[in-house]
């Protein structure tokens, strides 16, 4: 595992190699196609995400939002296409990328504490065969503090509420101290306090110049939370600054004939006009 071997993290923007002529965007995707059981899920995705944006990935169920993230992280095989993180393939940039999977993707009955889970974000730094040390636990504790649940560090994870579990996952990504974050539905089924805490955290990350991509479901809050959106329905319907791209027409093209969602979109748009 050569890529696990280096422990010195590249700085937020790694130096370009001389033979590297690709753009320095945190994330650029060219011609990405992904298929499950030969059925295409994502078609011809072309995207360049500018640095320091808080990006919402919006689209109906089955639009391939999670798959897009997973394809970027090499978690699902690409049928074709190229994903580059700061101009290099993901597998050479793992240390600058943080990932928050969907909360339901793991068994929360697992016998570990919140602190243990957050420490997992540091395993790469710790390296093969080595044990977790005090300094790693301190970093993990600090990450838990940033999401406001350091008092629950020793709690077994099944004894946490859904919102607290989501915060644990966020803390694990924070502990990685990445510059590009992928978050898969961090707002799904969390309480209002956690939602506010996550939003604060996202804005905080943005103010530090970090780029974050968030799979998001609630159209009503899109304009409030994100300054950049990707409207996705197997293809990229539109991508760009929220005020330009998040329009009734684009939403209609994204959600097609799904009336209930259109109503939601209408509600969201009326909010933009008001606010």
């Amino acid at each position: 595992m050569p890529d696990l071997a280096y422990h010195n993290k590249p700085s937020a923007t790694p130096p370009l190699r001389e033979d590297d002529h690709s753009p320095r965007a945190p994330l650029s995707i060219h011609d990405l196609t992904v298929a499950y059981h030969r059925k295409p899920v994502l078609w011809d995705i072309d995207l360049d995400i500018p640095e320091g944006k808080l990006v919402g990935i919006i689209g109906p169920n089955g639009a391939g939002k999670s798959t897009l993230i997973k394809a970027c992280l090499d978690l699902v095989p690409k049928a074709s296409g190229l994903v580059q993180v700061y101009g290099q393939p993901y597998k050479r940039q793992r240390s600058v990328v943080g990932y928050v999977p969907q909360r339901e993707s793991v068994d929360w009955d697992f016998p570990v504490s919140a602190l243990d889970v957050v420490t997992m974000g540091l395993y790469r730094d710790i390296g093969w065969f080595k044990v977790v040390r005090r300094k790693h636990k301190d970093i993990a504790r600090a990450a838990l503090d940033r999401v406001g649940i350091s008092h629950l560090a020793e709690r077994q994870i099944s004894q946490l509420s859904g919102g607290q579990q989501q915060r644990v996952f966020l803390a694990r990504a924070l502990a990685q101290d990445a510059s590009l974050y992928f978050m898969d539905e961090p707002f799904a089924a969390v309480d209002a306090a956690t939602e506010r805490a996550i939003v604060t955290l996202l804005k905080d990350l943005q103010s530090q110049g970090k780029t974050t991509l968030v799979v998001h479901h609630d159209l009503a809050t899109v304009t409030q939370y994100f300054d950049y959106v990707i409207l996705l329905n197997m293809r990229v319907v539109a991508a760009g600054p929220t005020e330009e791209v998040f329009t009734a027409e684009n939403l209609h093209r994204t959600y097609g004939g799904k009336l209930t969602l259109l109503a939601e979109a209408g509600h969201a748009l009326s909010q933009i006009k008001r606010g």
Binding site: M1, D3, L4, H37, K70, L73, D74, L75, K91, R94, V97, Y99, P101, S105, V106, D107, F110, P111, V112, S113, D116, V117, M120, Y123, R124, I126, W128, F129, K130, V131, V132, Q156, S158, R172
Partner: protein, 462 residues
């Protein structure tokens, strides 16, 4: 009773025999007991990760897939290589090969078709076992078959453990121990969050292969001791039992290894003392008994502990409801005489009407309160609280009302709904939370109830 046992063919051992086995004086017994103990340690360790990776059935498919390998290895060795059929390493090599083929088949079925894990494992498990049975039947007539004791691999025959066998078990245990220590953190991440592990660049497939290789090693060397049908129980039961005692993976792994060892030791010892009992089965039964005990009495997730805490909570809620009811009635009675609330006697009938209690329930609650010294006196019609009971009643009522007022002022809940909502929370209010409520609401005494209390109709607090 002794004659009854004679009928079953079991003989109670003499004291000398008991000491002989316990002190491992007989070298054969010592070999067997030490081997099963060490095997238990290894299976307990690797079983934890297998269980948490949710691959328990994979171990079962693997062990069953070993059977045709044993038969085929016997054929190859006796027919083509001119070796003795008893050659243990040859037989175990055959077992390993078909075992691995079985696991690979499960993965292939899962990855290439839409058949799910459990079905794929079920298919492989039974087909390979069937194939193994056929092969064994075919070679039954060949010379050297009975000497090779192939059938002992199915149910296990601990007594037939040889020195070579014992050495192998110890070597495997050493490998398993080393891997569990060195790869502890890697396995932990693999079992908890495969996706994250993969995204971090850990070789998830490689780690899975290592884990399954360890399971294969334990299974194959365990074939002699417990047999291929029961080995899965030896792998999974200690881990499952350990889970009831702890919420920490490190502790669980250590505990599982200990439970595995105890099962192996006790099972082999019992079977040495009572020679008619098959050791493999006894080992598994011992493990199962530890599992049952853990399931009920486990300190982290045991059933009894859950029942007990639920019972305690119910009791606490009952007590708090009773005391608050008494206090509210006292409050109303005193207000009628325009006095401050005091510990006056409360008519039983009023109490009965205060909440929707049956007379039986009220009597039960009163008995319980009497037990806790909260009641001074119960005669036919009246109930009076003790000093401590009155204090407690005042405290409980206060907590309830603080919470109600908080809900009304800070959470926008209508006064008419607040009683129910407060009801579900007040029993779990900690002293810290009460202090916070006091600060937020700036209240020190017992506030009046923010809503109408039915029984205190005449002049009760509004």
């Amino acid at each position: 009773m002794v004659s009854g046992l004679h009928n079953t063919g079991l003989d109670w051992p003499s004291i000398e025999a008991l000491l002989n086995v316990l002190l491992l004086e007989n070298s054969t017994t010592a070999k067997v007991v030490i081997s099963t103990t060490v095997l238990g340690l290894a299976s307990g360790l690797v079983g934890c990760f297998l269980l948490l990776r949710k691959r328990s059935l994979m171990g079962d498919a693997l062990s069953h897939a070993c059977l045709p390998g044993i038969g085929l290895a016997f054929i190859v060795m006796t027919q083509f290589m001119g070796l003795e059929g008893k050659n243990l390493s040859g037989l175990l090599l055959g077992a390993t090969i078909t075992g691995i083929i079985g696991v690979v088949l499960v993965m292939m079925i899962r990855n290439t078709s839409r058949i799910k894990d459990d079905a794929a494992m079920g298919i492989v498990l039974s087909v390979f076992f069937g194939l193994g049975t056929v092969v064994l039947t075919l070679v039954q007539q060949s010379p050297g078959y009975s000497a090779a004791g192939l059938e002992s691999f199915i149910y296990g025959k601990t007594a037939s453990i040889t020195q070579q066998d014992a050495d192998m078990i110890q070597a495997v245990a050493a490998v398993v121990f080393l891997c569990s220590v060195l790869l502890f953190k890697e396995f932990k991440l693999l079992c908890f969050d495969e996706g994250f592990s993969r995204s971090q660049g850990w070789p998830v497939n490689g780690l899975d292969v290592i884990l399954l290789a360890l399971v294969t090693l334990v299974t194959v060397v365990g074939l002699q001791a417990v047999g291929l049908i029961l080995i899965i129980a030896f792998l999974i039961t200690p881990a499952a039992a350990a889970r009831f005692w702890t919420n920490d993976l490190t502790v669980m792994v250590i505990l599982s290894a200990i439970i595995g060892s105890i099962s192996g030791w006790l099972g082999a010892t019992l079977s040495a003392l009572l020679p008619r009992l098959p050791a493999g089965a006894v080992i598994v039964l011992v493990a199962a008994m530890i599992f049952m005990f853990s399931m009920f009495f486990g300190s982290a997730r045991g059933v009894v502990r859950r029942w007990l805490s639920m019972y305690k909570l119910k009791r606490k809620i009952g007590r708090q409801h009773l005391l608050r009811a008494v206090f509210e009635i006292q409050e109303a009675l005193c207000l009628e005489q325009s006095k401050d609330p005091a510990n006056v006697a409360v008519p039983f009938k009023t109490l009965l009407n205060h909440r929707s209690w049956t007379p039986k329930r009220v009597r039960q609650l009163l008995r319980q309160a009497d037990h806790e010294d909260h009641i001074d006196l119960i005669d036919g019609d009246n109930v009076r609280l003790s000093e401590s009971g009155f204090g407690e009643a005042a405290r409980i009522t206060r907590n309830h009302r603080l919470w109600e007022i908080f809900l009304i002022t800070h959470a926008d809940i209508a006064a008419s709904h607040v009683d129910r909502d407060a009801d579900s929370v007040e029993h779990v209010l900690s002293p810290d939370m009460v202090r916070e409520l006091e600060e937020k609401l700036d209240m020190l005494g017992i506030p009046e109830s923010p809503h109408y209390i039915a029984q205190a109709a005449r002049g009760g607090p509004a």
